[in-house]
Amino acid sequence: MVSPRAHLVGDGVQNPANAEALAEAARMFAVPCSFRDSRGLAERLPELSTVDTAALLGGPGPLIAVDNTPGAESVYRAWPALDGASIVVGNERRGIRPDVLRAAAKTVQIPMPGRGVNTLNVATAAAVALYYLLDAHGRRQARAPRPDSHRPALLLAAPRDHVEAGSSLRSAAAFGWQTVTVDDREKVWFGTPRPVRNEARAAARSHRNPLRVVPAGDAWSPPPGSRVVICAPDVDGPPLHRTELTGTGTVLVIPDGEGWEPRPGAEFARVAVPGEPGRYRLLTGIVLAEAARQLSTRTATAPRPPRRGLSYGSVLGQTALPDTDLVQPWELTQY
């Protein structure tokens, strides 16, 4: 039996819908998914695979925590995960628990420049982390921060589920978009019954989401002279992370399924994942993360990078190091 290249672990995930979405994110990247259950998730979804604390912390591979703790490394700059690594995402509100953070070989975060909303849905965050830690090799280099005028316009084309649409709008706000156009031909966002509307707005975190959502209308067409890039998992085009997604006049179109007819002259970018295509929020999360990476805008709360700013450091100086290296016993047990 071939051992999987990575494991996805949900640490204390509370919402069953999020747990199912997380399992789907794992299937998208053809990796197994398990949950450390501390909040009764196993009783509500008995088919989910669970892992106990000892197995999680004492596993053979390194632990990679996805959490925005101080000092966490950007997932865009992190080295690809080693074979057998466990990639851990945490509870929706509290994040990863301290014992995992302590045991983690590396903590990565997804930089988010959004101001009102600065977090992603847990399954979306897992999909983005898996994409950059496992699959997005040979990506375009983001050389320098680009002005916000290079940010592409965004069209969510025919989303089929109101929660998926809301979660995608949350991701758009978190990655710094201020206006998003929605082609709402499935009637999931505008003019919906109150229960549907409430669920969709809750998924979008609309109480603090400053995003402006514009209906596309039946006769939507891109502005004259614009460049349209359609991002989907099953299109014929270069991989997403090797396609130029930014630039003045660029329109990113993310269709949900195959019901949306592309305009002639559009370019295609393929969201290349080894497993089955995931749900809409996972797809939009990956596309928006890649566009944000290519823009390389700074996060709203991040301080000035240390190389540019003035800093003073206090280090215990050492003379020339010998060729040997001291290894602690716990490092040997992890080796």
């Binding site: 302590r102 003035l310 450091g313 206090s314 100086g317 050492q318 716990w330």
Partner: protein
């Protein structure tokens, strides 16, 4: 008695007292396995409370972080101007360091109460009692606050207020004074 002619030119201590605001936030990133944060947030708050508004004036935050990826030796602390102090995790005592420490680093550790035994290829550092916590609080935190006060009093965010050697000497002298003042209360 220091006097001033305007609110802008008044001495640093008076200005700090007048402008003392919200407490300095202390954020914690848990240490990795085999490492500890010797000084916890409660210790830091206790020291900042003891030294009053002059020590906390202009500070934007204190973060307990994991060790940075690369460096010439074990990192103790850092200041990101303006006003962010980073205290790094340390190996759980006793320390077994590969190689030898410089004379300056050895003197610094011994001043903090550590017992340093230097061998051919390694150095062992024992930390009796609460000496490691005190080392982080004074040679780490107060040393960086010394740097911060120099920059903040000079109102300089992007350029150094004085040459680096002088900066380090004054920050070190501030940390030593702070240690003596702290010890004098017992």
């Amino acid at each position: 008695m220091p006097l001033s002619r305007s609110l802008r030119t008044d001495p640093y201590l008076m200005r700090a007292t007048r402008r003392a605001g919200a407490p300095v936030p202390v954020r914690v990133c848990p240490p990795r396995r085999g490492f500890v944060h010797p000084a916890d947030p409660a210790d830091i708050v206790r020291v900042l409370t003891f030294f009053g508004p002059a020590a906390a004036y202009g500070l934007r935050g204190i973060e307990l972080r994991q060790q940075p990826a690369a460096g010439t030796g074990p990192a103790v602390a850092a200041l990101r101007v303006p006003g962010l102090v980073l205290l790094f995790e340390q190996p759980a005592p006793p320390w077994d360091l590969s190689g030898q420490l410089t004379d300056v680093a050895t003197a610094r550790l011994q001043r903090a109460g550590a017992r340093v035994a230097t061998g051919q290829a390694s150095t062992r550092v024992d930390w009796p009692g609460s000496s490691l916590c005190d080392f982080m609080l004074f040679d780490g935190l107060m040393h960086e606050i010394g740097h911060h006060m120099i920059q903040h009093a000079a109102r300089k965010h992007r350029t150094r207020a004085m040459r680096t050697a002088d900066h380090e000497r004054r920050a070190d002298a501030y940390a030593v004074r702070a240690r003596h003042a702290w010890a004098a209360q017992w």
